[in-house]
């Protein structure tokens, strides 16, 4: 094989590696999108509430919001995304039901968990969905970011408004 052919082959290999890396990034490395869960133009921050999901420290894990008030969030994603989950949602003040989904990829299998939570969002409020893994158990709850206190509860709880 002459030098020119060898160099051309090396270039092709490099292009192939870059392409694979880009595709991998698209599928796995991208940050989850955000979604506005009400119709019309986005309102001012003080007139809406933000609910975000705290990322897990575990490797190969994915956590996000999949439903708000029984509506799939992927319908509201405006940017390009390969995921059906979002990391942050913008909602109008009032009571909302949030479904969060979590997946941890192991060597041969994937573990899944889902939480069904409610909260009464206040205008300008910022909330974060927290997750703690305890062995095979997963605890998820919503915290008010400003006060650091849990808000809302589990869907179906006796104090759900």
């Amino acid at each position: 094989m002459n030098n020119k052919a060898l160099s051309q082959r090396k270039t092709y290999s490099l292009h192939f590696i870059v392409l694979i890396a880009l595709i991998s990034l698209l599928f796995y490395g991208c940050v989850l999108p955000k979604a506005q869960m009400y119709p019309g133009e986005r309102v001012e921050d003080r007139k809406q509430a933000v609910i975000r999901v705290e990322e897990l420290k575990e490797d190969f894990s994915k956590i996000g919001i999949s439903k708000v008030d029984d509506e799939w969030v992927f319908k509201y994603i405006t940017t390009f995304s390969t995921s059906d989950l979002v990391s942050e949602v913008y909602v109008l003040p009032g009571k909302h039901r949030i479904v969060t989904s979590m997946a941890i990829h192991h060597f041969l299998f994937t573990s899944h968990a889902r939480s069904n939570l409610w909260l009464v969002a206040e205008p300008g409020g910022k909330y974060v969905v927290k997750t703690v893994l305890k062995g095979r158990r997963v605890q998820m709850w919503i915290e008010n970011e400003r006060t650091g206190k849990p808000v809302g509860g589990i869907v179906g709880s006796d104090d759900e408004p």
């Binding site: 889902r114 939480s115 069904n116 709850w141 849990p150 809302g152 509860g153 589990i154 869907v155 179906g156 709880s157 006796d158 104090d159």
Partner: protein, 198 residues
């Protein structure tokens, strides 16, 4: 021959519901009559199939599926003392409350450190404990579990059981916290208390 195609569709619906025991309980409570008619029709149709077309293997598979469907949803009731079952007046019953509206079921997973159900019962109906246990009079410690749509919680309670009495494990969830207690079914009064889970 009446082809039980519609029955097969119904079967798949029930099997889907079986994946979630709360849904199954809900389903049975609300559609008990429909369920009996469906089971009767399925039995008759499967007998007809067996007589006419179905191979022995097919019939066995159908029977296994039916058994899983019927016994998978049977809520486990367990006697927690050795020997023969004693008269109702000489034993006490501890039940878990079923709140069908909230799709919440309370089960008793352990009594005096002993598991109430085995692994096969757990697998058959996705049960985590018994809905009813029979104990001899005296003090008993139990681990209870409340299961709702996507969450669960454990509680550890004690009771001094009296002969002939029935006790119900009740739960109330507030926010992210579940509180469980025991009530005497007859008087409606709270009884016993909480204990450590060891």
């Amino acid at each position: 021959m009446s082809v039980p195609e519609s029955q097969l569709v119904e079967l798949s619906v029930v099997m889907m519901n079986l994946k979630n025991k709360n849904m199954t309980i809900d389903f049975i409570i609300q559609h008990r009559k429909k369920f009996y008619i469906w089971a009767k029709n399925l039995l008759m149709n499967s007998w007809e199939l067996f007589n006419h077309k179905m191979s022995m293997n097919g019939f066995i598979v159908l029977i296994i599926i039916m058994s899983l469907t019927i016994f998978g949803c049977a809520a486990p009731k367990v006697k927690m003392y050795p020997g023969e079952k004693v008269a109702d007046s000489k034993q006490a019953v501890i039940k878990g409350e079923i709140r069908a509206k909230k799709r919440e079921v309370i089960t008793i997973t352990k009594v005096d450190g002993e598991m109430t159900i085995d692994y096969s019962t757990h697998l058959a109906g996705d049960w985590w404990g018994a809905v009813e246990v029979y104990v001899l009079p005296g003090k008993h410690k139990m681990v209870t579990r409340t299961d709702s749509d996507s969450s669960y919680a454990y509680g550890c309670l004690w009771v001094v059981a009296e002969p002939g009495e029935t006790y119900i494990v009740k739960a109330r969830t507030e926010g992210y916290r579940s509180v469980m207690w025991l009530e005497n079914e007859r008087s409606g009064k709270k009884i016993g208390g909480v204990t450590d889970c060891n």
